[in-house]
Amino acid sequence: MNGGTHVAKRKSDVGTLYKGSPGQWSWIAHRITGVAVVLFLFVHIVDTAIIGWGPEAYDRVASVYQNWFVRLLELGLVAAVLYHALNGLKIMLFDFWPKTTRYMKQLSLLSTGIFLAAMIPITWIIGKATLELVGWL
């Protein structure tokens, strides 16, 4: 039985890698941002393909962005791509250098920190363009 306990401890060490906070939350965020980006990608390939029908058709598609709500979606898209990329980098770090999982909490805080720091100027830029669009700036 002692042997069993020992094995169980070892197994649970492996099992907790993506289980519980903060790994659990980043796992959920990774999944949501991934699905959101791939759904956008499906639409985006079609809207880009419209360029084959000439300038009138394509510029009509591009003018979809002249709408404040679409601008918010645009900000969300940039955030989703950036989060997914940074968190993916963190996952690879843990996968290829398992010793770094000892600093999982710190590295999670670091990657989230980089993401949030990058989102400050990005939100400023897209936010400013959005406010100009609706005439508040």
Binding site: G4, K19, I28, G52, P55, Y58, V81, G88, M92, I122
Partner: protein
Amino acid sequence: MAARTEERVESQAPPSRGLLGTRGSRERPAGGFEMWAWLFMRISGIVLLFLAVGHVLIMHVVDEGIDRVDFGFVAVRWSDPLWLTWDWAMLTLALVHGINGLRVVVQDYVRPAGARFAVNMFFYTLGFILFVLGTVVVFTFDPSRWPGAA
């Protein structure tokens, strides 16, 4: 004896179900298709880190962002083999990366085998059609068909 103990320990472990129905961590695949899929996600992920993040920042953030993107902008861009290669590589890698990601998500939420097969086939077919569409557009686009527009 050790193996049997391990087996029993494993079956005793209660299946954890967190948010979004997570069932704990996946074992890292040790071989076969799943291992190559696992490796592909990481390699394409590194490449997409540059291609997709770069694309999003160039098109949506820097230098007036999306406001400057129109037919003329794309026409100038796609006259450069660098951007053609960039965009086609991104199209291909993002589609395979995204659809394999969907396959993993479907594995978690679509349990009946028939429905899972149907959903996966839908995404594979959609992905293939979009790959062909994107490839044709990237490599056949000729702005000189609309003189004066670019």
